[in-house]
């Protein structure tokens, strides 16, 4: 990077605009028409000075303001309403309180955005005129519109708007897209049970998936009930081709439904490990082989019973079945499943059997080669779920991001409304601001609960399940920011303690708030069917857990016994890919993937530089062009840069450089406080079957309910274009040697 800084990033905005525009070869008198070039110039400087991200954001905020024009919030809602973009209730509410609502708007809050964050808001979230495509709202109007779409009074709107404009809490993308809109589909994810093993049921499911996809929801769907290849079809005396052709149709259907151009449709298929088509299922995402047996758009997940993992440990055989022969297995878990499975084996019903480790190895290969085939654990999911107190209520799958666990059946499509707290916004130099965190949780739970009533449900099955169980998923983002600020390496005992405490505080407060809501509105209709109604809270499944606030838990337990809960489930840690970008923090509970990387999104490419690292390097006089280039050459790693002191290198390890055991331990320690689950990505630069099989067996033994992607790295990389020093052949061959020939001894990847 040879770009010179053009103006100090804290200079006045006019000066920066002039400087940026001058650099772009633009006549400064023609501002602001040429602002776009100035924004691009400022964005390009981020690599040298992260503060330019804020500069670019401020320039963009000006552009947006000009595009929207004069008039306040209420006027912007009115304009959007005139175009049919806003629902009647919302329009009435805003018109009735126009002056008070206009007074809430704080455009100064725009200064909190990073460039990438504001760009994302501008390109994807702000309401646009249906024909001119000009934006109709400024960023703060957008937040207030979302708040008003969920509020019953101006005070409520102010409360939620305050959390959002300070980037302390953000609802999930569907809520941000659609709150207050004509069709307010506010839910992030939908989970559908497997279609019954009948043609009509399968086609009915495609229709449901399409209707749910249309409104920006991610789909999880099980396919475990559908008969396997070679199974007899009585009606025609033919043989079934198994599940693959059906999933091909699903694949095409999902790809066809583009979510209003804002996201591609997305679905994940779950299959139980005993299904006789499991091996073909694991090949669905391979990029070689017969394309007629591939599904390039579907994500894949394994719904793994404990019995399978036990047989892997014992190196025993594993039997595969045609669901037509053992229809009961899908609806059983725990000891009942184990008994039924063994009885089916003893009765000779198996289609065939193979060594459990061979199948497990095949699952690991799929993870390494495609990142797909997520390992999710059926028994842990059911054992600890608040909704499974009564027989017949079974969790059959997780969702597109493996953080939702709810019961499903033919009449119930599970739904989840999500939102995430930005932990970075609740951290001071000394540590977490616990009181503020709790206050945020209280507000967040109230509004998540509200989304259940305000939401539009694309299918009756979704409406039925959501109104009966009223589940919500409160999550977090920015854990990595907290740990950087407090200077705690991800694998330190202090990080484990803090991360667990955060999870506990959130769960404790969320349960208390849900009990308060139950006092106001009554418990959710299906409350009597939950474990909570029987005096068992999620935490009780972990007798070894040592909560920080045992006394408060006793109080909450008492309160729940008295009032019940308004929500059957409260906590789920979603990946927060897009909303963390808006909030300018690291994603959910993940470590950073690199100190320097680019994001590729539908909005273009954006350089992301770890600003904590840069600040530390500046303090120590080490933020030089040489070190900058060295970080870039090392793909965002600081481990081999001798000039950077040891303590910084330890703190700024990337996900590739941290022991994955630490990530699993952090996840396991917070599990008692997560009543649904968490989207836990695991990272391995050069995966081998041995390492992966050990890692996932450990995750299972640690009691994790689900895991998410396995992230690995390409075997070769591009030659860098913009570094003056050429890659030496030794360095190039070392890199290849490291990742391919000697993964065991490679220090860099451990």
């Amino acid at each position: 990077m040879t770009q010179e800084l053009i103006a100090p990033p804290d200079a006045g905005i006019e000066e920066i605009e002039r400087a940026c525009a001058g650099l772009a070869g633009v006549d400064p008198r023609r501002l602001p028409a040429e602002r776009e070039a100035a924004i691009a110039q400022a964005a390009a400087l981020v690599a040298a000075e992260p503060a330019y991200s804020m500069v670019a954001a401020r320039l963009l905020a000006r552009q947006v303001a000009e595009e929207v024009g004069e008039g306040g919030f209420a006027a912007s809602v009115e304009a959007a309403h005139a175009e049919g973009l806003i629902n009647e209730d919302m329009a009435r509410f805003v018109a009735a309180h126009a002056r008070e609502l206009d007074a809430l708007v704080d455009h100064g809050a725009d200064d909190r955005f990073t460039y990438f964050g504001l760009r994302t808001v501008y390109d994807r979230y702000l309401l646009r005129h249906p024909r001119s495509r000009q934006v109709l709202e400024r960023p703060q109007y957008f937040f207030l519109r979302v708040a008003c779409g969920l509020a019953e009074s101006v005070a409520e709107a102010a409360e939620l708007y305050g959390l959002m404009s300070s980037l302390s809490y953000l609802p999930s993308s569907p809520t941000l897209f659609n709150s207050g809109a004509a069709r307010p589909q506010l839910s992030s994810c939908f989970l559908l049970d497997s279609p019954r093993d009948e043609l009509e049921a399968i086609y009915e499911r495609y229709g449901q998936v399409a209707r749910l996809s249309k409104y920006a929801g991610g789909i999880g769907i099980s396919w475990s009930r559908v008969r396997s290849r070679g199974s007899l079809i009585r009606g025609t005396n033919g043989h079934s081709n198994g599940i693959v052709p059906w999933l091909r149709t699903l694949d095409a259907s999902v790809a066809a439904v583009n979510q209003g151009g804002r996201r591609q449709g997305a679905a994940c298929v779950y299959l139980e490990t005993w299904h006789a088509d499991i091996e073909e299922f694991l090949e669905l995402r391979d990029n070689t082989g017969e394309d007629a047996r591939r599904t390039h758009n579907l994500s894949l997940a394994n719904w793994v019973p404990d019995e399978f993992m036990r047989r892997v440990e014992a190196d025993a055989d594993w039997s595969l079945f045609d669901p037509k022969d053992v229809p009961e297995l899908v609806d059983l878990w725990g000891e009942e499943f184990d008994a039924a499975y063994r009885a089916a084996e003893a009765a000779g019903k198996a289609a065939h059997s193979l060594p459990a480790r061979r199948l497990y190895g095949r699952m690991m290969r799929t993870l390494a080669e495609t990142g797909n085939g997520w390992m999710t654990f059926k028994d842990a999911a059911n054992r600890t779920c608040n909704q499974t107190a009564e027989p017949g209520n079974v969790v059959h799958l997780s969702n597109l991001c493996t953080e939702i666990l709810q019961v499903t059946d033919d009449d119930q499509t599970a739904v989840c409304n999500l939102g995430s707290i930005n932990l970075a916004a609740h951290t001071g130099p000394e540590g977490m601001d616990w009181a503020r965190l709790r206050a945020t949780v209280r507000t967040a739970v109230r509004f998540l609960d509200r989304t259940i009533d305000r939401g539009f449900y694309p299918t009756p099955e979704a409406a039925a399940a959501n109104t009966a169980w009223r589940p919500v998923g409160l999550g977090v983002m920015g854990l990595a920011d907290v740990l950087f600020r407090l200077r705690l390496p991800f694998d330190s005992p202090q990080a484990l303690e803090l991360s667990t405490r955060i999870a506990e505080e959130i769960a404790l407060t969320a349960y208390g708030t849900s009990a308060d809501l139950a006092r106001e509105h009554g418990p959710h209709p299906a409350y009597q069917r939950t474990r909570a109604a029987r005096g068992v809270l999620h935490l009780d499944h972990w007798p070894d857990a040592r909560p920080h606030h045992p006394g408060e838990w006793t109080q909450v337990r008492r309160k729940v016994a008295e009032t019940g809960l308004r929500n059957s489930l409260l906590i789920a840690i979603a990946p927060t890919a897009t909303i963390a970008s808006i909030a300018g923090c690291y994603e959910c509970v993940e470590p950073q993937v690199s100190n320097l990387f680019k994001r590729e999104t539908l909005s273009g490419e954006f350089l992301q530089l770890n600003s904590y690292l840069v600040a530390d390097l500046k303090t120590r006089g080490l933020w030089t062009p040489q070190i900058r280039d060295a970080i870039k050459r090392a793909d965002g790693s600081v481990q081999d840069i001798a000039e950077i002191p040891e303590d910084l290198r330890a703190l700024y390890r990337t996900a590739w450089e941290l022991p994955q055991k630490a990530l699993i331990d952090l996840a396991a320690a917070r599990t008692p406080y997560i009543d649904q689950s968490q989207s836990l990505n695991l990272f391995m630069a050069a995966p081998t079957i041995g390492k992966l099989s050990s890692m996932y067996a450990y995750a299972w033994r640690s009691g994790l309910k689900t895991t998410y992607y396995l992230r690995s790295r390409p075997a070769t990389r591009i030659a860098q274009t913009t570094l003056t020093q050429a890659v030496t052949p030794e360095a190039a061959s070392e890199a290849v040697m490291c990742s391919l020939e000697n993964p065991e001894i490679c220090e860099a990847c451990q």
Binding site: T2, Q3, E36, A37, A43, A44, G261, R263, Q264, A266, N287, D291, H296, M364, A368, E369, A577, T578, S594, L596, F597, K598, R599, E600, T601, L602, G604, E605, F606, L607, Q608, K632, D635, G636, P659, T688, I689, K691, L692, S694, M695, A697, Y698, R711, S712, P714, A715, T716, R717, I718, A719, T721, T722, L723, T724, A726, P729, L740, E741, Q750
Partner: protein, 331 residues
């Protein structure tokens, strides 16, 4: 020695294990055209200005024939003369990758240009569009420069071979293609043609490796026969680079016309000169231009990607993972 005439068949002991490693690394990066979703680009195409559309059409026309030319040289010249089976393994793999690129650009062309006469015109560009024809002629001239050579017997033969190898690595894959990639990334920096860009990411990764392989062959030959490398060779390579830059710059002038937002033919000139200097530096030859990179968006291409999986398919997975199930490894 690597350039000695013959058809060596011995893999054990292996003389050039680094070539074999490159072959295996390449296999792990297998991708297929079916993984690229180009249809999302159609909406963008409808929004382009006439000047941008002109650029895209010219690019497609260049891509239509570019990789086929490279594959021809591989088969006609490089495979014949690089006398080590491990090197020929890599070249076989490279031929496959060129075939995937040809298929990718064919699919791109079929998707972008639904009209059959337009498609035929794109392929005819190599004869009809001066800026594309001149680049192709530059390539053909260097392919033909080894036309009569069946064996590299003399110093003169080997020098001729080196020039052909360097031309395809540094000037064609390393400059013509890098030029073309810059346009694609410029479009993407403005949020346009994400499908083309995601396929290009993979092509770019492959081309980087092809270039690095060729340069490591040059390094090997330099170690084995240092006397082949002298000032005269440096002079010849520098002149060849100059010609390539001139040809690519003519193409840039055709593409950019009177300038596009954030990209002008002048920017491209500076970028090409900058890239040419990089290639010379890799060959241990002095810089010819001393120009800095003006394209900030190319800066981004050097950085590891992190895709939002809702929006793009992640391209960073390996195939051919090894090992057996164990339960007690550290991770």
């Amino acid at each position: 020695m690597l350039l000695d005439p013959g058809m060596n068949l011995t893999l054990r002991p292996m003389r050039y294990p680094a070539f074999y490693d490159r072959y295996r690394a390449a296999i792990r990066n297998t991708w297929t055209v079916e993984e690229v979703d180009l249809h999302s680009d159609l909406a963008d195409l409808a929004r382009l200005t006439p000047a941008e559309l002109h650029l895209v059409n010219r690019l497609v026309a260049f891509f239509a024939t570019g990789d086929t030319i490279v594959a021809n040289n591989l088969v006609l010249n490089l495979y014949k003369h690089l006398n080590a089976p491990e090197a020929r393994l890599y070249l076989s793999r490279q031929v496959f990758e060129e075939a995937v690129h040809v298929q990718f650009y064919l699919t791109l062309l079929d998707t972008y240009l639904p009209d059959h006469t337009e498609r035929a015109k794109a392929f005819a560009a190599v004869d009809n569009i001066p800026a594309i024809r001149d680049k192709a002629e530059f390539c053909f001239r260097w392919i033909d420069s080894l036309g009569d050579l069946d064996e590299l017997r003399t110093r003169h033969d080997r020098r001729a071979f080196l020039l052909n190898l360097i031309c395809f690595a540094a000037c064609i894959e390393g400059l013509f293609f890098y030029g073309a990639f810059a346009y694609v990334y410029w479009l993407r920096s403005r949020g346009l043609l994400n499908g083309l860009a995601s396929g290009t990411n993979w092509v770019f990764r492959d081309e980087s490796m092809h270039m690095e392989f060729a340069f490591s062959v040059v390094d090997t030959v330099r170690a084995e026969e240092p006397d082949l490398f002298d000032d005269a060779l440096t002079g010849q390579v520098t002149r060849m680079m100059e010609e390539a830059v001139a040809a690519e710059l003519a193409f840039a002038r055709d593409l950019c016309g009177d300038g596009l937002p954030g990209l002008s033919a002048e920017d491209m000139r500076a970028y090409l000169e900058y890239v040419a200097d990089q290639r010379l530096a890799r060959l241990d030859m002095p810089a010819r231009y001393g120009t800095a990179n003006p394209l900030a968006f190319m800066e981004l291409q050097d950085v590891q990607e992190l895709s939002n999986f809702f929006e793009r398919r992640v391209s960073a997975y390996q195939i051919g993972v090894e090992g057996t199930v164990t339960l007690d490894e550290t991770f």
